[in-house]
């Protein structure tokens, strides 16, 4: 390059080369940043867009009763899934599928052509259908197993078991409470797919098989549960009531033996029920217990030493508290009574007085010790909020404390009350109620055990023993005669509580109940029967609830193999002589029938009303045929 610009041009060539090199260096830096420094981030993002995941449900563990009979099991049913990207001929596939599955062609075609990684064509098909679809060998049509709940014994203990959702998840009841044990771990199938959803050749594939869930073993005995369900249904229907429950519990372990409600619901058809219908109200909802609560008052007054069992009370038909007249159910009152008789007669003025004699502090200490105002700790969803309602000590006042003495002005859950009754049965030691005994694997080996938990000693064993005898007397001689079980000693207490109506006052709705246990000398079953809003000739717990208790508990004792240890009264004595039947707490018409069957007559000699309150001669007495039994009647005692 000869001319004068030659040097400039040479410099400029070198400059251009330098500039190009600089850009190259900058690009190398940029590449280093992207490929080495941001490597993990970009790689993960690329991975995320490539991985297609198909989940496989685990099989849900079964629910067993205490004797390992299956109450709920999961059978896997196959679901048909389409992977639209892998379908070669959507029309043909849709035509074949819609025919085999008996579905609408258009809807199947629409599903097959959705721009999704996978789409359910039909959930839970039976085996023959699944097989038929498999034989079509359609590309892009795959199967996943979906667990479905079956109930081998039918829909029993529905409220206890609760329900399971479409995706194998426990939604309510024990299915929810023990979901982490029951559900297992879902498996997954992952593979790398291209942008059109097809597997990449040599791409990574991963399969994690599902882990089946554990089974749970209930404290409930299926046979006793069935009895309870049968008896509560009968009792509710006969009383024309809104609803009812029977809860049975082992007082020594806290294990629930049966928990029946009526109306119940069909577990296989739960989608057509409301949450209200499925609500476990016996555990979660509080009510005013009425006279059954006198067990707590009696326990407190005896254990605190405020009164002895030999004390007496004179009932003049009412008691004055702060100028308020708290009446006895029996006009004119019961007159002079022993402590035991106040319980037998369910005398409200007596128990109002006992409560006042103890005072707020002492009485409340016992109420709290019995677990009222606190969750029971049962293993059921919602328990922590099911505390009942207890007025504050500061505001309860003299009238308040007096009415709590006979079970008004306090709200308790049925389970709380049963727990208190079971405490008396268990020598004063309160047990935590439980529904699940253990978690087991598929070979029924125990994975985790839930032993009985004693909460506290509420009353002394000697107080419990005395109270036990008082409660036996209620069944032998008082309002609870219809809970008597031949061959066994039964202890218990009736209750007929008024319900607070929507205006906040007491209306004409009632709750009839009976709570007790048997055999009283060595209790095996504690039970509470509640008949809510009976609508018949009576609302009396001794007439409506006690017979259901009697029927359910006597069958339970027989099933549990508890031997009778009491002589059974004979019905035929000498020629021309009969034993007088117990007609107390029967409606007059039924009492007359019973007397007639025994070859005796019946005459009302006092009182007014439907229910036989007392009789003469006493039950069990041997009398001549055709003797007339004189009875005193009343209306809805308590």
């Amino acid at each position: 390059m000869p001319d004068h610009t030659a040097v400039v041009v040479r410099k400029r060539i070198v400059f251009v080369l330098f500039a190009l090199s600089l850009v190259m260096f900058a690009l190398v830096c940029r590449l280093f940043y992207l490929q080495v420094i941001r490597n993990e981030w970009l790689r993960q993002m690329a991975l995320d867009q490539r991985y297609a995941t198909l989940y496989e449900d685990s099989r849900r563990g079964p629910i067993y009763d205490v004797r390992f009979r299956k109450l709920a099991v999961s059978m896997s049913a196959e679901s048909i899934v389409a992977i639209p990207a892998q379908i070669s001929d959507a029309r043909d596939t849709a035509a074949k599928l819609s025919e085999v599955l008996d579905m609408d062609y258009q809807s199947v075609y629409a599903k097959l052509t959705q721009p999704l990684a996978s789409v359910y064509i039909k959930r839970r098909v039976d085996q023959e259908t699944a097989q038929a679809v498999k034989e079509l060998r359609l590309p892009g049509i795959v199967f996943t197993e979906k667990g479905e709940r079956f109930y081998p014994s039918g829909s029993i203990a529905s409220h206890v078991l609760g329900i399971v959702g479409t995706d194998n998840q426990g939604l309510e009841g024990l299915e929810l409470e023990y979901d982490e044990y029951l559900s297992g771990k879902r498996g997954r199938r992952r593979s790398e797919v291209d942008a059109r959803g097809r597997d990449i050749p040599l791409g990574e594939k991963e399969y994690i098989p599902p882990e089946d869930g554990y089974g749970i073993v209930l404290t409930i005995d299926e046979r006793i549960q069935m009895i309870a369900e049968r008896e509560i249904e009968r009792a509710v229907v006969e009383a024309n009531a809104a609803r009812g429950t029977i809860i049975m519990m082992n007082p020594k372990t806290g294990g629930i033996l049966a928990l029946a409600t009526y109306p119940s619901f069909d577990l296989t058809d739960w989608r057509n029920t409301t949450a209200e219908q499925r609500r476990m109200w016996p555990l979660l909802d509080a009510y005013e217990p009425g006279s059954t609560f006198k067990i707590v008052t009696a326990a407190a007054v005896l254990d605190s030493g405020t009164r002895s069992v030999y004390s007496t009370f004179d009932d003049i038909g009412y008691v004055l508290v702060d100028g308020h007249r708290l009446r006895c159910w029996r006009a004119g009152g019961h007159g002079h009574q022993t402590f035991v008789e106040t319980m037998e007669n369910s005398c409200n003025p007596a128990f109002a007085t006992y409560a006042r004699e103890m005072g707020v502090d002492v009485f409340y200490r016992y109420i709290r010790a019995f677990g009222f105002g606190l969750p029971t700790g049962i293993d059921f969803p919602g328990d922590s909020t099911a505390k009942g309602m207890l007025q504050s000590e500061k505001t309860v006042g003299a009238v308040g404390i007096a009415t709590i003495g006979f079970g008004q002005g306090i709200a308790v859950t049925p389970l709380q009350l049963l727990q208190a009754i079971a405490t008396v049965a268990n020598g004063g030691t309160m047990m935590k109620p439980r529904l699940v005994e253990a978690v087991v694997d598929e070979r029924l080996q125990i994975v985790e055990k839930f032993p009985p938990v004693s909460v506290r000693q509420v009353i002394s064993p000697s107080t419990a023993q005395i109270l036990n005898e008082v409660l036996v007397s209620v069944v032998e001689n008082g309002s609870g005669t219809r809970a008597q079980i031949p061959g066994y000693l039964v202890a218990g207490k009736t209750g007929t509580a008024q319900k607070v109506d929507h205006r906040g006052g007491y209306g004409d709705k009632r709750v009839a109940s009976f709570g007790g246990y048997a055999p009283a000398d060595d209790p095996v079953v504690a039970a509470l029967v509640i008949i809510d809003e009976p609508n018949t000739y009576t609302t009396y717990g001794g007439v409506l609830a006690a017979p259901a208790f009697q029927a359910a508990v006597s069958d339970a004792l027989r099933l549990l193999g508890v031997p009778p240890n009491r002589p059974v009264a004979e019905t035929v004595a000498k020629p021309n002589q009969v034993y007088v039947p117990d007609v107390r707490n029967y409606p007059v018409v039924e009492a007359a029938e019973k007397a007639k069957e025994a070859g005796l007559g019946l005459r009302i000699v006092g009182g007014q009303g439907n229910i036989v309150l007392s009789q003469n001669p006493v039950p069990g007495a041997a009398v001549q045929l055709n003797t007339v039994v004189n009875v005193v009647v009343g209306d809805d005692p308590e």
Binding site: T5, I13, L20, F32, A195
Partner: protein, 371 residues
Amino acid sequence: MRRLVQTRDKGPDLLIFASALALLTIGLVMVFSASSPMAFHEFGDSTYFVKRQLFWALLGTVAMIATMNIDYHLYRRFAVAVYAVAVGLLGLVLIPAVGTVAGGARRWIVLGGFVRIQPSEVAKVAIIIVLAAYMSSIGPRMQRFLTGVVIPIALVAVPLALIVAEPDLGTAVAILAVCVIMLFLGGARLTHLLLLVPPAVAGLVLLIVTEEYRFRRYMAFIDPWQDPLDTGWHVIQSLLALGSGGLFGLGLGMSRQKYHYLPETHTDFIYSILGEELGFVGCAAVIALFFVFAWRGMRAALRAPDRFGGLLCAGLTCMIVFQALMNIGVVTSSIPITGISLPFISAGGSSLTVAMASVGVILNVSRRAIE
């Protein structure tokens, strides 16, 4: 005057030859790897593209050997004719009956079968030849504004306008940039060249904002995540491919992004797949080869026996290297998407043949080098 001295043939620069052939070989391997899923899916033959690329590589090699042995002074003599042919072809491709539309642009003239030519590729070389010829005959008058800047720019403006009309803005920008570099090398005054910057920038901005797809591409460059499934898709998928590669890559043939995530894997975005499969090391190696090519090409220009040879050699070298930098700039999302392929490596008949022929010319110039 040395120019009159017939210099002795020293043999072609072997490093230029080697780097070009290395890049070509990498290209063939990568075209096969990157295109096989798409080729298999579209044509049922995973070697569909690589077979064609192999043909073009052979044709390109033949062209390179031919031009290597043709005395480059010949081009100076036919500069005007070459220029006229190029402009003619560019005009022809715009006629709907002749030009074939692909991807929204009329860029190809189909000759038959898979043989189609891209007039803009021919125009690149033609413009470089005519500029080199012009500047070498102008000599010291390059320092004047009229003869040093206005006339040569007017000369290239005609073919550039036709290329923009295709539309192929990316190629036009690349050619314009190389032209400016050549004017700079040819001795134009720096102040005169700087005067070109404002109108060039203004024109570019105008072209971007008036055409919606260009504007969207530009916005996608600013923030690809704003529209990841549409305009941002190319950029994001390219970055995912590069980023997945890491230091050493997933291994040859192991790219995942080529499974329909990244479009145009065997053409404009082949470098992303290369980065995914061969990693940072592979990417840097390709840049290193282009550096060797640039260094030896500019060295040959420096040692060219005459002005025409020097400018021709520098222009062709810059054109190839500049396109490579633009392409890598695009796939690393350093500049907006322009639609420039990677020389020697991207699949494409015209571009490969022209690039190989250009290498032959550069080699021919290097044979005449003086110390």
